[in-house]
Symmetry: C2
């Protein structure tokens, strides 16, 4: 079996930065900090970080006076206000690209635009961005969710950092004829774009694609979708253990890619298992 790895795969700048920040927090009774939700969307890495003293919590109750780390996906300003009320010390690991999307939504809201966001409404990144538009934003999964815009003349549009450019572009195309002004901040991050392009290029050249990363990771799931479209066979796995030798023929060439929150050691284990098969 011949194994090829995508040119762009695995940890992106924002995820690497967040893990670095976390690991540099001093331990206190074995605890480095509490993260509001998982720091990144990779269950294996989050388990490892727990052992290193980084504890995910669902909300701020019970965290008064403690060190609170804001995850890569960011959070709504209301949570920062609450953390301050609770006298928490705040360590902000929001990805700088997510921060740009938050600031774009805030600016558009402040300048009187109706704010629209293309992304997944239940994703923590989107919940955070909506918060920066003071809760006044419409979230669209794709162009089919663009509503009737009869009384809306000025729309401001931002993107979840990890969505497909094609969907974002289709939404703009659908909105433009319906309004007087459309101001678009293309907040899709280049890491997402590069991973998607590399994954599709590799998918076109191999017999099977393996996409490694958290099932709760939006960008990994999107990579798996794109690989399914471009390759005969594509599998999304969280760990090497999920790989089934029956997926492959003897002379297959297998491509490997990984989401922006998938650590190197998972990619290495996946490649190692494939080579053994």
């Amino acid at each position: 079996m011949n194994v090829k790895i995508a040119g762009h795969a695995g940890f992106c700048y924002g995820v690497k930065r967040a893990v670095d920040i976390a690991m540099n927090i001093e331990k206190n009774n074995g605890i480095r900090a509490y993260t509001l939700g998982p720091l990144i969307h990779n269950p294996q890495m989050v388990e490892l970080l727990k052992k290193e003293g980084l504890m995910p919590v669902d909300d701020l109750e019970g965290c008064k006076g403690k060190k609170i780390m804001i995850r890569t996906h960011g959070t709504a300003p209301a949570n920062i206000v609450k953390a301050k009320e609770y006298k928490c010390s705040i360590i902000d690991a929001t990805c700088p690209y997510v921060k740009k999307a938050q600031k774009a939504a805030e600016k558009l809201y402040m300048e009187g635009y109706a704010v629209f966001i293309v992304g997944e409404s239940d994703h923590p990144e989107i919940k955070g961005i909506v918060g920066f538009a003071k809760g006044n934003a419409t979230v669209l999964k794709d162009e089919n969710e663009v509503p009737l815009l009869e009384d809306i003349h000025r729309i401001g549009l931002v993107a979840q950092t990890t969505i497909s450019e094609n969907i974002f572009a289709k939404v703009t195309r659908k909105i433009v004829p319906e309004v007087k002004e459309l101001r678009v901040f293309n907040t899709i991050c280049s890491a997402t774009k590069n991973r998607q392009i590399s994954a599709v290029n590799l998918s076109n050249k191999v017999d099977v694609m393996i996409v490694a990363g958290g099932r709760n990771s939006a960008n990994t799931t999107r990579l798996a979708e794109l690989c399914s479209q471009a390759c005969k066979k594509a599998y999304h796995v969280e760990t090497s253990e999920e790989i089934d030798p029956e997926w492959f023929l003897k002379d297959d060439t297998v491509g490997v890619t990984a989401g922006a929150s998938t650590p190197d050691w998972i990619v290495k284990e996946v490649v190692g298992k494939l080579i053994k098969i």
Copy 2:
């Protein structure tokens, strides 16, 4: 033969306004004013206006101290400056919708955007709008003319008032993935939109479409293109004299539409001739 007229056809608000302004200028030795280029893009109406003392000129030379009328399509600010230097009295009949496009281009330029305009580069409306962006604008006919945008991060986009919404939307779709910010002012006028929708609806119901209006009229030419796509047979004529009885079968239903600069009497003559056939 059954003749049907499109719900929206003929003189639009801006054209009617310009003709009204022109006809209210007092004559002086048989001359009302000089227009910088034809007042509207309809040769027959321009001939009629000449007899009424409205004289088109190609440029301002020879017009010192005279009454100068700015056509519906507007003009570049440099021409206004020159007319003032020449002590002309200026009567501005720029269509208010064209003025919105001019102001949008000026605002985008002043706010540091790279200005792009979707339209016909040699059309007087576009030459005027480019002038409002201090000459620094890129004109695109359609999405195929979008250039490589490697070093351009913020684009401001406006439309010729008479272009197709579909082309405008396709251009936005093509630009969005390539830039950080795209600010779009949809300056297509509702008269254009309404005439296009009415013309296509009627085209779908009739055997032959007749589109009346100047061959130099952008919006009429666009109507004729849309009718050709939606109807088996479509003909663009300037006057009733061009209509050939051989175009029709005995029981045909014929649809009639007319550009925004086509006067009522031309539409009436066209319908009259069709009924006689």
